[in-house]
């Protein structure tokens, strides 16, 4: 039953890096790969190959351009296999360094082999916790290479660095590592962690997913948040992380998921408080999502009937598309709108800005002073603005591509136009707009050219179009085309108009239907969530010297990866 049969890793050119078989005799990598590649891209993460022997399920993930494949000949739980593949990728990255490159795997096959054997034993997943793996597998490092195989009891690289702080108060004498790991009381944290400089970092990343209707009204606005935590603290620390948010954490954060180290009871009692013993190193503490529109948005907006009476979302950048411009309706225009709040020298404080969210009714009092101390958020600025305009497959070319700023790339046959605006140009753009509350705009214009068979195929409809309507059953609607006022007009003008109308209709098929914006904003979160404090509970922590105050850092990042979609 659900067992991992094998793991294959391919590099970006689809050459085999690694073939590791766990049990039975699965399909070989060189047989599997062409079958996998024969599926058209984008390939689903689970592909069934009925014509192989044995008929095989192929699970795949792509991490850092490396392709991880796992064949299975029996029914398995797909998510179990995929999660395992992700864990393998994480572990490899943890041990070999990020980003995961083919060359790194090639230089340290011995480490990779140990990892793969530890993580999965005879097809059953056994241990995927990075800290536990650190206990049994040694990371390649400079020290390791220098000492290479002298037969010393191996030590972790961190403990090899000379420890100059004398305040370490080890609860037990240092034992050879393999023995000590069995004593680790916390499964996700390795024993005997020691760091010379104690550091704690909280990175909160929110990914925006906003869909704007043609009217500009948001249909959905979700921010997917992830709290990445880096703990480099000696001993077994007890940490307390407090989040706060205008409007209350409980009303903001929805559908959270947690690392196993987080005490769920504490969170349920007091949302916004994380109490946990962190693993050593970097990990994802929690994930959550925020509905930026609020739960009752749908019922509220139609009651008010006016679009502009809507509570406006604070979107750093968005795009609108206007189509069927020009006499033949072949032109389109994409407008990029940048919110003035995120110019590089913005003076507005982020705390006040979050009040513009629809949900934040009655926040007021708490928001002001508490957050400004963070300091990192005073001047959020927008970077890496890229607009993607996907085009229908029938578009053969785009002529006359003009942009007011930045650089647009399109080659015939591409799936869409990519329009990049560098941060320098963004700031220039911001400066040229008159500050204040007006959004800075940049435009892109282009003309689509469809496939050449348009004119041939349009002959038939023209004959049927010009045929007078001989009978009339109009019981419930006006005639949809060729209203009678056209008839008295001179023949040529009429046919020209008709021709153009037809052209417009034909070109309508070629129009882009949306534009997506990617960007990143440092120091600002759309949800308004802030790290209130991060404390080490000195009483309950072990192994951290008295009076040692770890260095703490907080980073906020808002990212959109083609997440802002403006439709038309």
């Amino acid at each position: 039953m659900s067992a991992i049969e094998a793991l294959y890793i391919f590099d970006e050119h689809n050459t085999l890096l690694l073939e590791h078989v766990y049990r039975s005799r699965p399909l070989e990598a060189k047989v599997l790969l062409p079958l996998y590649l024969s599926h058209s891209s984008p390939r689903p993460s689970l592909i069934y190959l009925p014509n192989t022997n044995p008929s095989t399920l192929v699970y795949s993930i792509i991490q850092d351009q490396l392709l991880f494949l796992s064949p299975c000949s029996t029914d398995t739980e797909p998510l179990q296999v995929l999660e395992f593949l992700h864990r393998v990728a994480d572990a490899l990255e943890d041990f070999l360094g990020s980003p995961l490159l083919a060359s790194k795997i090639e230089t340290s096959y011995d480490v990779v082999a140990q990892l793969l054997n530890e993580m999965c034993d005879g097809g059953l997943v056994s241990c995927t916790e990075p800290n536990a793996l650190r206990d049994v597998v040694e990371a390649p490092s400079w020290m390791n290479k220098l000492l290479g195989g002298v037969g010393l009891p191996s030590t972790t690289p961190s403990s090899l660095t000379p420890s100059n702080s004398s305040s370490f108060n080890l609860s037990r004498p240092q034992l050879p590592r393999p023995t000590s790991n069995t004593l680790s009381s916390v499964p996700w944290r390795r024993a005997n962690v020691r760091h010379t400089s104690n550091e704690l970092y909280v990175d909160i990343v929110e990914t925006l997913h906003i869909t704007l209707a043609p009217s500009g009204r948001p249909l959905s606005a979700l921010a997917h948040g992830t709290i990445a935590f880096t703990a480099k603290v000696s001993g077994i620390p007890e940490l307390l992380l407090y989040l706060s948010c205008p409007g209350g954490i409980a009303n903001t954060i929805a559908l959270p998921v947690f690392h196993p180290c987080v005490r769920l009871a504490r969170w349920r009692e007091r949302p916004g408080e994380f109490s946990f013993v962190p693993p050593d190193g970097r990990f994802v503490l929690a994930g959550y999502e925020v509905d930026l529109l609020g739960g009752d948005y749908l019922s509220s907006f139609t009651k008010e009937s006016k679009a502009n009476s809507q509570p406006r979302l604070n979107i750093p950048a968005r795009a609108t598309v206007t189509t069927s411009l020009g006499p033949q309706g072949a032109e389109f225009e994409v407008k990029l709108l940048l919110s003035p709040r995120f110019k590089n020298a913005s003076s507005s404080s982020s705390a006040s800005s979050s009040s513009s969210f629809p949900r934040a009714t009655g926040l007021g009092t708490r928001s002001g002073s508490a957050f400004s101390s963070a300091g990192t958020t005073s001047q959020p600025s927008i970077d890496e603005v890229v607009v993607h305009v996907p085009l229908p497959v029938s578009v053969r070319n785009v002529a006359d591509l003009r942009v007011s700023r930045g650089e647009a790339t399109y080659a015939p046959g591409d799936v869409g136009i990519e329009w990049r605006i560098s941060s320098r140009e963004v700031s220039a753009l911001m400066a040229s707009s008159h500050g204040g509350s007006i959004e800075a705009t940049a435009t892109l214009r282009g003309t689509v050219i469809g496939t050449s068979t348009d004119d041939d195929s349009s002959e038939n409809p023209s004959t049927s179009l010009s045929m007078p309507n001989p009978y009339d059953y109009n019981d419930d609607e006006p005639t949809p085309y060729q209203s009678s006022e056209l008839l008295p007009k001179p023949q040529d003008e009429r046919s020209l108009q008709q021709h153009n109308a037809r052209k417009v209709k034909m070109n309508k098929v070629l129009m882009p239907s949306c534009a997506t914006v990617s960007f990143s904003v440092k120091g600002w979160l759309p949800s308004g969530i802030k790290v209130e404090s991060l404390n080490v509970d000195q009483k309950r922590s072990k192994g951290l010297g008295a009076g040692v105050q770890p260095y703490k850092g907080v980073k906020y990042l808002c990212v959109s990866r083609r997440g802002i979609e403006g439709r038309c």
């Binding site: 029914d75 998510l79 096959y109 290479g148 393999p178 992830t226 882009p512």
Partner: protein, 828 residues
């Protein structure tokens, strides 16, 4: 939850791009995070590493390294060998076997590990030489270092040499009693490997396994459960004594142990807890039903009788949960916040198949949270969400924003999202319904990248309109949306829309008479042959409705003029239309087969004529001329037969075989007016109403979370190989005695286990005799026997094993219930 590497990549992308201007990257794309990979450092590293790593040493030099006395050299040599095993065919590394194995006794842990890795890869090819190493490995089993002990156990069981199965079995026995949990876990994981090596070791292995299942360490128990599922998933009798401790450990296990335990418990619960339901008044609030559940179990026989005697329509069935089952469902709850998507799905699966509606409702949110994960997980999660949504759509309505399609979604993702939208549509409030419709029509408008999306969106509109809960107004709105597509320049869209419109009309023909008229008007605009054919067919279907005021004949007349220019599909339909119209005419004009009415009806035909002439410019000279030419009896022929024979004439000289063939058929069929009855049977047979279920209906039978659910019927009927359907609930009275699950105190447990071990042989023989014979252990009679049999061994006062009469069963059950009541009174 996003994996840490993905989050790191986001954070790092920013850092790098701040450092380096974009210009240096050229066309790298943000989405694939190439920027991150192409940092200068990485690129340099790559070029350097490629050169060094692919360099290979000649065999002789490798051997020298491996034979060296310096540990450092040996390690270096082993590294090279490991690299070669991954990169080269096995034949290049196999000659080194003895040289590598020699180092197995090395005191260095690092070297040992590498040798073990080599051994695992190559032992099968050289079983005899591999056996030489067994002694050393066996020695390592009693090493002072638990890590080495665990490693040795793992490697020994991993060597695929069947001869050593007894040694492995002994090793597992030793490992299962080890002090270190790491070794015990390795022992648990070795059990399936040993079983695969030699199935005859099963009795011993089960012995070890049942001890490991009761292990106090969370990750040992989890591994033991995985092994149990691998070796003997049907032996649930081994689980009874550990059920409660396993369920309690569930929260603290690692994710993989949780997964295995949840899968096991789902099957266990189905086989051990009969589904009891209780009728309650519908007006009862949830609190009341809660109270009812807590007092259940004692009086349920009475309550069943009650409900049997008065089957009331105001009542609904509420499942009553066994306290042990409730314990399971309760301890699952924290796992809904797990970062592992597979665990979340496993919990939902438990709730869906074991729990109540209230349980499912709590699981909806966590299900939705899976959509935040990486794209690959999102895709699988969507399948599972659809599956849950098919059984319980209401709670999904509030999460509609997650189902809106983005332009970046891959086809397999938007397909499922559209399906979800249509599934929640009937339960959505008015405003949301219109939003969903607007959404669907946005995607159905041509111009979007993917023709498949257009098609699916149109079908989705159709499904929305067809749903039984949809109000007629909304249905009409859906139809309007579809009708608007008919004039589109995109032929696919038109064809697809018509297809759906046809379905809609067929479902309720009476309400759509005007729709057909409107469609017929669109014939002028529709260019795609498929669309025209579809419209013509619809007109033909409606030719019989409301004969006084029907357009079919008129449509036929107009189409006849342009017949030569039509495509074949349309021609076929025109001919069919002609035949249908003719049959209708025949039926109307010849109610009986007597010749007299024909004469009588003669006056009525001018009336028809008049009607047509009033309504539209009937008969231009051209048609009349042709008709005359063709029909030789000019003045008295009714236009309908004339039209019919005209079409027949045209088809006779068509280039298409198919068309000519069909024409011949109709000609023969309608040759004499007297055969009209037969013809109408053929042509006017009522068509079955097309039913378009949600695409995932076909997979509804598959288990949540299984791969068969994703693959669907493509994987063969009954799922993929290895797919196991959910067992049915055990029948009331056939479940194993619940006291089997009672826990002993820790010492007693030991003793009990030991006692069980001694009797195990006998017990196994008895219990396994029927179970071995038929592979399915879970068939009711056996289960009953097993449950009671083991119960009596424990010392319960159940009825002796013999053919039980119904009365005996009742007596036993009452006794049990009384006991249970007692148990409860004593505060248990």
């Amino acid at each position: 939850m996003e994996s840490i590497s993905r989050i790191s990549s986001m954070l790092e992308t920013v850092v790098f791009t701040v450092e380096l201007p974009y210009a240096s990257f050229g066309l790298c794309s943000l989405v694939t995070s190439t920027a991150r990979d192409l940092t200068l450092e990485a690129a340099r590293d790559a070029s350097y590493a490629r050169k060094t790593s692919t360099r290979q040493l000649p065999q002789a030099q490798l051997k020298k390294l491996l034979d060296s006395r310096s540990e450092r050299d040996v390690q270096e040599g082993l590294r090279k060998v490991i690299m070669m095993t991954y990169r080269e065919p096995r034949s290049t590394t196999l000659p080194l076997f003895t040289h590598v194995i020699k180092n197995i006794a090395s005191p260095s842990l690092e070297i040992k590990k590498l040798v073990y890795i080599y051994l695992l890869h190559h032992a099968e090819a050289e079983p005899d030489t591999a056996l030489l190493s067994i002694n050393t490995i066996q020695k390592s089993l009693s090493d002072s270092n638990p890590q080495i002990r665990a490693l040795a156990l793992r490697v020994m069981s991993g060597i695929r040499v069947p001869v050593i199965s007894q040694i492995v079995s002994l090793g597992i026995k030793k490992g299962a009693g080890d002090m270190s949990p790491y070794v015990r876990r390795a022992a648990a994981l070795a059990i399936p490997k040993c079983y695969a090596l030699d199935p005859s070791t099963e009795p011993q292995l089960l012995e070890y396994l049942s001890a490991l299942l009761g292990d106090k360490q969370y990750f040992v128990a989890g591994a033991a459960v995985s092994a149990f599922l691998d070796v003997c998933p049907s032996r649930i009798d081994l689980i009874h004594p550990h059920y409660r401790s396993l369920v309690r450990k569930l929260v603290d296990m690692d994710e993989w142990g949780q997964l295995a335990t949840l899968r096991l418990m789902m099957v266990y619960a189905r086989k051990c807890f009969p589904r009891r339901t209780r009728r309650v008044k519908k007006s009862n609030t949830k609190a009341n039903s809660k109270a009812a559940t807590s007092t259940k179990g004692f009086y349920d026989s009475e309550s069943e009788e009650e409900s049997d005697t008065q089957p009331d329509h105001n009542t609904e069935e509420i499942p009553i949960l066994d306290p042990d089952l409730e314990l399971l469902l309760k301890s699952c709850a924290p796992l809904l916040q797990s970062r592992n998507s597979a665990v979340v799905i496993a919990v939902v699966r438990c709730y869906l198949y074991l729990g109540t509606l209230a349980h499912i409702d709590t699981a909806i949110g966590p299900l939705i949270s899976l959509l935040r994960s990486a794209a690959d997980i999102q895709h699988i999660a969507l399948y599972n969400i659809v599956q849950v949504c098919l059984t319980r759509p209401e709670p999904f309505v509030q999460y509609y924003t997650h189902f809106l399609v983005c332009s970046t979604d891959a086809p397999h993702v938007w397909c499922l999202k559209l399906e979800l939208l249509t599934l929640i549509f009937p339960y959505a409030p008015q405003r949301l319904q219109s939003l969903i419709l607007a959404e669907l029509s946005h995607f159905s408008h041509s111009g979007f990248q993917d023709p498949g999306l257009v098609r699916e969106a149109v079908r989705a509109i159709g499904r929305c309109a067809q749903s039984s809960v949809t109000s007629p107004q909304t249905s009409a709105r859906c139809l309007r949306l579809l009708l608007a597509h008919i004039g589109s320049a995109d032929s696919r869209l038109v064809a697809e829309s018509l297809e759906v419109i046809r379905h809609l009309i067929q479902r309720d023909p009476d309400a759509h008479r005007t729709t057909v008229v409107r469609l017929a008007k669109h014939l002028d605009a529709a260019t795609s042959p498929q669309a025209r054919a579809s419209i013509i067919w619809l007109v033909g279907e409606f030719a019989g409705v409301d004969p006084e005021n029907n357009i079919a004949a008129d449509v036929l007349r107009i189409l006849a003029k342009g017949f030569a220019d039509e495509a074949e599909a349309a021609k076929l339909q025109i001919m069919l239309l002609a035949a249908k119209v003719y049959v209708h005419w025949l039926n109307a004009n010849q109610p009986s087969e007597v010749a007299a009415p024909v004469v009588e009806l003669k006056p009525s035909s001018p009336k028809f004529l008049e009607g047509f002439e009033e309504e539209g410019g009937f008969r231009d000279s051209h048609t009349v001329g042709e008709e005359k030419q063709e029909s030789k009896e000019p003045e008295h022929q009714h236009p309908i037969p004339a039209l019919y024979s005209y079409i027949l004439l045209l088809t006779r000289y068509d280039t298409s075989y198919d068309l000519r063939d069909r024409a011949r058929l109709y000609r023969a069929l309608l040759a004499t007016p007297t055969s009209a009855q037969l013809a109408s049977l053929l042509l006017l047979a009522p068509k079955p109403v097309p039913h378009t279920p949600s695409p995932s209906e076909t997979r509804k039978g598959y288990l949540l979370g299984s791969a068969s659910l994703v693959v669907g019927d493509e994987g063969g009927v009954g799922g993929l190989k290895g797919y196991e359907a959910l067992p049915e609930w055990v029948k009331e009275g056939e479940e194993p005695d619940r006291r089997l699950r009672d826990e002993k105190s820790s010492e007693n447990g030991r003793e009990y286990d030991a006692g069980k071990v001694t009797t195990a042989g006998a017990m196994l023989d008895m219990a396994a005799a029927p179970s071995r014979g038929s592979s399915d252990f879970g068939t009711p009679p056996q289960r009953g026997l097993n449950g009671f049999g083991s119960g009596s061994r424990v010392g319960a006062n159940t009825a002796p094993k013999k053919e039980k009469t119904l009365d005996d069963w009742r007596a036993a059950r009452r006794k049990k219930q009384r006991l249970r009541m007692k148990g409860n009174e004593t505060g248990w």
